[in-house]
Subunit: 196 residues, 2 copies
C-alpha cells in the first residue's frame, strides 16, 4: 500500500470510529442495575463482551470465544440508524430487519472495503443465528437483560407487563439453545421474581 | 466439577457480572463526540475494543489482537472502587495505584479463583505496559480521547487548559510507542486544532 492509500484507509477507519460513538446515545428498554437510567447500546455491548469472557465455560466445544466477543462488540452498531426495538414490544420485524440492512450498508461502508465486508459478514452471521458462535452470542444477548431486571427491581418487565410464559417463549428458548446450563440457573432466579 | 460446585462457580460469575454494571456509572473527563455528556468507563471500554478491532493493522507483528481486546474490555474495572483520574489532572499516582490494587483484589476476587487470577494478570499486564499487547492497548487507550475531543470541540482540553506540548508529553509518547503511524496521523489533526 502506498503512503497515500494507507493514510486514506486510516482516515476511513477513524471516520467509522467517530461515527459509532453515536451508539452511546441509543437507549434500550432495560434500566442499568441501580435503576437510575436506561442502558445504552454501547455499554450494553461492553457488558455482553464481558459476559462472553466470563461465561466461556457455558459455551459448547465448537464455539470460538474470541469471534463471539467480536460479534457482540459490533452486533448493535446498526441501531445507530435503525434504533433499538425492545424484545417485548410488538413490532414489524421484517421492516426492522430491512432498516438494519440499510444501516449496515451505510455504517460498515465507512470502512475500507475489505474490512467493512468482514465486519458486515460477522454481523450477518450473528443475525442468522445458525453457527455455534452466533447461537452462543445470541444466548448472551438475551440473558443479560434478565439479570439487569433482577437487579433493578423488574425494569422492562414491569413497563411491558411481561409474564414468565412470555420470557420462556421469547427469551428462554434462545438462551437455552446456546447455553442450557446457564438458562437452568437464570430461569430459577427469574421464576423466583415472578412467583413473589 | 460436581453440579453443586458448578452452580457455585456460575453464581460467583453472575455476581461479578452484576457488580461490574457499576462501571456504567463511572464518569470520565472527556465528553462523548456530540458533547452532550461525559463518557462513562463502560462505553469507553467498548469503544476501545472497537478501536483495537478496526486498527489492528497499526499493531506490530507480535501483538495478539484478541488478547488486546480482552485487556481493553477489563482495564477500567478497578475504577468502580478507585474512580477515574483524568490524565491532565495533577494527582498522586502512587496513591491511585494503591487504590486500584485494592479494587482489583476485591472485584476480580468475586470470580472463581482461577478465572479471577487470570483476569487480574491481564489487568496487571496492561498496567505494566511492557508486553507488545499491553503497549498497543495503552496506545489505543490514549488515542481515543483525542479523537473524542476533536469531535466535541475541545472537551477536556478546555477544562484542563491543556497545551499541545502537554499532549505530546503525556499522550503522544504512549500512542507513538505502540502505534507510530497512528500517532503521526492523529497528531497532525490535534496540532491543527491547537493551531486554530
Amino acid at each position: 500500500m502506498t503512503p497515500d492509500l494507507a493514510n486514506e484507509a486510516l482516515a476511513s477507519q477513524i471516520a467509522f470510529l467517530q461515527e459509532i460513538d453515536r451508539l452511546k446515545g441509543v437507549l434500550r428498554a432495560t434500566p442499568i442495575c441501580d435503576n437510575s437510567r436506561p442502558e445504552n447500546s454501547a455499554e450494553h455491548s461492553w457488558h455482553l463482551a464481558m459476559y462472553a469472557m466470563v461465561l466461556v465455560d457455558q459455551a459448547g466445544p465448537d464455539v470460538r470465544i474470541d469471534r463471539v466477543i467480536r460479534m457482540l462488540l459490533l452486533h448493535d452498531i446498526v441501531e445507530i440508524d435503525a434504533g433499538d426495538v425492545p424484545i417485548h414490544l410488538v413490532h414489524d420485524s421484517e421492516a426492522q430487519a430491512a432498516k438494519e440492512r440499510v444501516a449496515a450498508e451505510r455504517i460498515f461502508g465507512l470502512l475500507p472495503a475489505e474490512q467493512g465486508a468482514e465486519f458486515r459478514a460477522l454481523w450477518e452471521e450473528f443475525e442468522a443465528a445458525q453457527t455455534p458462535d452466533a447461537v452462543f452470542a445470541k444466548s448472551i444477548d438475551r440473558v443479560q437483560p434478565l439479570l439487569l431486571n433482577l437487579a433493578n427491581g423488574g425494569g422492562s418487565w414491569i413497563d411491558y407487563h411481561v409474564t414468565m410464559e412470555q420470557i420462556d417463549a421469547r427469551v428462554g428458548t434462545k438462551v437455552n439453545r446456546g447455553a442450557p446450563a446457564l438458562w437452568r440457573h437464570v430461569r430459577a432466579r427469574v421464576a423466583g421474581y415472578f412467583a413473589s
